[in-house]
Symmetry: C2
Amino acid sequence: MTSVQAAGRTVFFVSDGTGITAETLGTSVLAQFDSLKFRHRRLPFIDSPDKADEAKAVIEEQGRVDGKPPLVFSTLVNSTIGARIRLAKAVHLDLFATFVEPLERELGVKSNHTIGRFHNATDSEAYKNRIEAINFSLAHDDGQATSNLDQADVILIGVSRSGKTPTSLYLSMQYGLKVANYPLIPEDFERDAMPSAIRPHMEKLFGLTIDPIRLSDIRNERRPGSRYATLENCRYEVGAAETMMRREGVHWLSTTTKSIEEIATTILNTLALAR
Amino acid sequence: MTSVQAAGRTVFFVSDGTGITAETLGTSVLAQFDSLKFRHRRLPFIDSPDKADEAKAVIEEQGRVDGKPPLVFSTLVNSTIGARIRLAKAVHLDLFATFVEPLERELGVKSNHTIGRFHNATDSEAYKNRIEAINFSLAHDDGQATSNLDQADVILIGVSRSGKTPTSLYLSMQYGLKVANYPLIPEDFERDAMPSAIRPHMEKLFGLTIDPIRLSDIRNERRPGSRYATLENCRYEVGAAETMMRREGVHWLSTTTKSIEEIATTILNTLALAR
């Protein structure tokens, strides 16, 4: 924690844990100031007074180099450690002090001032489910395995390179869902029928589609100049897939301008509404 | 957005985007009150006054059913929409109002009050890198591909079932890093040498190890009663792997009690320090 870089303003994400919460919030907040550039520095696992003092020194030294006080987004459960960090000359945005204290009053209970609340995270049922979900999604990527599809929470379908794999992995990693994905291929369009392996699971299907121009770009990066990547073929596959999904009453969305997070959230929302 | 469930207190995560930031922060804050149970409800994509009014009605109806005002964590860039949501009888924890306004004063600039700031997220270089990183990590899972290891940002090593795959996918998904993973197997220990495919890339290696008792449990779930899963064999493999990593000067950590996020953060931190 000793290296220091020059120029601009620095934002620190300080936590007794991973700092992911502080960084997620801080990044969203700073996205509202997109005319400014910030240097991001993560200071995770600050879980002792000594580490707090070391972090304070790093923050102050950076402020001297920058000539501007750093921004410090922090999630520190222990109030002693929080107090030491706040001694640093900086703009402090303390997530827990800001929200936990008002909630203690509202809820009429004290919060648990424990450090390392994630420890033994691996013992929990939720953790096991998550690992199991990731393994399931990997094993059922791209139609690799058609066994155990009855255990799937969701089965994503769509043409090759429509975004099925990253979406499947994101849903299993973040939400512990078992997500299979199954490609729709020209043979399915010629037969004009959903692949037989997924027919028994129509209520679990969710379709991904994509603008043919973008699909052609993506496929050309992988297999340049192939027939598979031509705009003509992409138009045909996307059109046929959309026609089939529409006819079969499958919920679907276009991934063209959406981030993985937006796609995943839309799927969760649609399935919750549908059930 | 019309179904309502009974009893307990409800926490809403309301956003004009996915609601992931609101949910990440809200979940961390509420983890400080682990004696209480909350029902979580996500209201994403609230990006018009009509949807805001609909969300307000859902929140109020839930409050009536619960007999307690819901908690509402929100990230709403548009202040008109925020104001409509705040009319709901609830405990409002408004992340942007709380942090963006003080930052406008500190930074001396106005924030951009745009809705849908994530749109065309897929056009950005960062997005392409992320998808490429996920594909790389998938292709280089479990030593499947040994080509292009020079393009890897990190190569995770460790015995089978030490946590390499979920960690690789998490690092690529969340940080856009190209992460290969390579198993250390009994043949490597008999030869008493690192696998030849990864020897040219020693500076990229990071090792994962695990408590042999836990490893035996995990392996027994997959291959019950196998020699592979015996505590004796797990002790041998873990001991041999740790000896080899220590001798070769590879950074490593034990995944036994750590979440995927903690493992990933530790790796990022160690590599940043080492470089």
